[in-house]
């Protein structure tokens, strides 16, 4: 059987992925992380060996319809609760270090 070579993740890609996910990874740990990624991708690549021509992607194990709600206001009016976990809140707002474009 043909072995598909997994997409190769190098150290720079691992660094970028970590940054995009806002997860701090020390430089020394990046090679191991990249290797982990490659093993995971390699595992997933095995799925490509299955012939799925003409098979619709399965979106649910049981035949379910997406649940819908009516257009009515059922939540809100709880500023205190919404802000209760905020490290810093002022005048009803979350206060965060300045982010300006």
């Amino acid at each position: 059987m043909e072995t598909l070579s997994p997409m190769s993740i190098d150290v720079e890609t691992a660094r970028r992925v970590a940054k995009l996910a806002r997860i701090k990874v020390e430089d020394a740990d990046l090679p191991a992380l990249a290797q982990d990624f490659n093993r995971i991708l390699g595992f997933v690549e095995q799925l490509n060996e299955v012939d799925v021509d003409g098979v619709e992607p399965m979106t649910s194990v049981t035949p379910m319809r997406l649940k819908r709600r009516q257009d009515g206001v059922t939540a809100g009016g709880m500023q205190d609760k919404i802000l209760s976990n905020a490290p810093d809140a002022r005048e009803g707002f979350f206060a965060v270090p300045k982010v300006v474009e």
Binding site: A75, G76, F93, A95
Partner: protein, 503 residues
């Protein structure tokens, strides 16, 4: 079907140092869905509420909270699609667009990248009588809005309000069929008009309920036609995207500036870099959003919290059956049914409320006269007082009454203006006011004749002059009108004066 014949407008050209350049523009318009509650939660969409009071635990992205779709928002997107003659996809799905920003607590926006609910459509953008651009719509998808960050309340902190977080947006993506700044603004205006007719978006740009990202590139004359023939983008220049504009004026200014910037780069032997830019209205220029570039990898993937959105053809058909008459059709009908000019029809159909008001005024009456009065007197006065048609002190029934009195010959046009003033300030039934205040036009020729005779008898010198200069007849008419308090039928007075003076 309507026979909409029109010519395409000429593309805007900008003269560069090395020859002429043309503009190619595509827009992504974000329209807030008119709904009570948000797309995936039961929090209110009301504008201007206390900060963070229209926020549910779903919007705040509390652990374990799951999105449940608002069916009405789906219906509104379908309705918009139908209004833009677009294909409706009975099967669509939601994806996560991942990025970090303080006003996005989930860390991703739920959107529809791969399978939007609405497919290809089109919109006819009017650029003047008989001139219009057909702009193709590529797709419309449903997505969540982000919250609002306020940067000017504190020198070191940004303040975040999540009230807008999770409100439903329709992103309407056009093909690059727009060829100038004015066309771009007119396109946004037409989308706004259609959505306001449909009731799917209130189009309030000031509140940010309608915003546009504008893609601009430049090319040489002839290149665009090659693109249109082949749909091959390589014939077009590299584009830049100007983000998040909520004013028609800024959209035009930004496009103009951006096109000139790109032309200068190319003519300087430099390259246009594909990037996201921001328009600064104070400086009148666009600048690069570098931070956005770095984080541009959104790592889209299907949202595991939501099953695909499957809708039934019968449901779509029901929505289609409930669509109102849309602006193009209404304008055509006004021209045909009321015999008004295309310009007047455009003015009257600009807002659905104005059109409805006019039709009530015109019902069973002289349509052209009604159009004149609604446009010149009513709209003029409303504009002066900064009022909307909904706040008009003169109702359609009252204005119709005034027009009826003119039509019957009970009052002259001049008296009608006085009457309009009375109804505007005091209210009341026009016919009753005319009766009570003795404003009825004197059509009794005997009475008018007596007045004409009197004026002629009292002014022999003027009579002599008028015989050699017939224009002076107007002076006699004026004297008679003055003597009768403007109530004499002007035509009767004219005829009598001319006859008596032997002119």
């Amino acid at each position: 079907m309507l026979d909409l014949t029109y010519e395409s407008p000429k593309p805007k050209t900008i003269a560069g140092a090395t020859g002429d350049w043309e503009l190619v523009i595509g827009l992504e318009v974000h329209a807030q869905v008119a709904s009570q509650a948000k797309l995936f939660s039961g929090a209110s969409t009301t504008f201007g509420a206390e900060p963070n009071s229209n926020v549910s635990f779903v919007d705040a992205a509390m652990p374990g909270m799951l999105p449940v779709i608002n069916e009405f928002c789906v219906a509104q997107a379908v309705r918009t699609g139908l209004g833009l003659k677009a294909a409706i996809n009975l099967w669509s799905a939601f994806d996560r667009k991942n990025y970090f920003y303080p006003d996005l607590p989930q860390g991703y926006q739920i959107s529809q990248l791969y399978h939007p609910i609405v497919g290809e459509g089109e919109v006819l953008v009017d650029m003047g009588p008989g001139v219009a651009r057909m702009v193709r719509i590529e797709r419309i998808h449903l997505e969540q809005d982000a919250g609002k960050s306020i940067h000017d309340m504190d020198p070191h902190m940004s303040f975040v309000d999540l009230n807008r977080t999770g409100v439903a947006l329709m992103e309407i993506v056009s093909r690059p069929d727009i060829r100038g700044p004015e066309e771009a603004a007119a396109y946004v205006g037409k989308l706004r008009q259609i959505m306001r007719y449909l009731g799917t978006c209130d189009g309030n740009m000031q509140n940010g309920n309608l915003r546009a990202d504008v893609n601009v590139s430049v090319c040489r004359p002839g290149d665009y036609e090659k693109y249109q023939a082949t749909q091959d983008f390589s014939h077009l220049g590299t584009r830049c995207e100007i983000k998040n504009m909520n004013s028609m004026r800024f959209i035009q200014q930004a496009i103009e500036y951006e096109a000139r910037r790109q032309i200068a780069l190319i003519e300087d032997g430099k390259e246009v870099v594909q990037e996201t830019r921001l328009y600064d209205p104070d400086k009148g220029e666009t600048r690069s959003m570098r931070s956005k570039e770095e984080a541009h990898d959104y790592r889209y993937f299907p949202c595991p919290d939501l099953l695909p959105l499957e809708i039934e053809q019968g449901w779509v058909d029901d929505i289609a059956a409930s669509l109102p008459e849309l602006p193009d059709a209404k304008r055509e009908r006004f021209v045909t049914d009321y015999g008004m000019t295309e310009y007047d029809a455009s003015v009257l159909t600009a807002e659905v409320e104005s059109a409805a008001f006019f039709e009530e005024v015109a019902r069973g009456r002289d349509g052209k006269l009604a159009a004149n009065w609604v446009i010149n007197e009513l709209f003029g006065r409303l504009k002066k007082e900064d009022l909307s048609i909904a706040d008009s002190p003169v109702s359609a029934a009252q204005l119709g009454g005034i027009i009826e009195l003119i039509g019957k010959g009970d009052i002259s046009g001049k008296i009608a203006k006085d009457l309009f003033e009375i109804v505007w300030t005091e209210g009341g039934d026009p016919a009753a006011i005319v009766e009570e205040r003795g404003m009825k036009q004197v059509t009794d020729t005997g009475a008018i004749e007596a007045e004409v005779d009197r004026v002629i008898a009292e002014n022999p010198a003027q009579v002599e002059k008028a015989k050699s200069n017939p224009k002076l007849a107007g002076w006699f008419v004026g004297q008679v009108m003055k003597a009768t308090g403007g109530k004499a039928n002007p035509k009767a007075v004219n005829d009598l004066v001319a006859a008596k003076l032997g002119l």
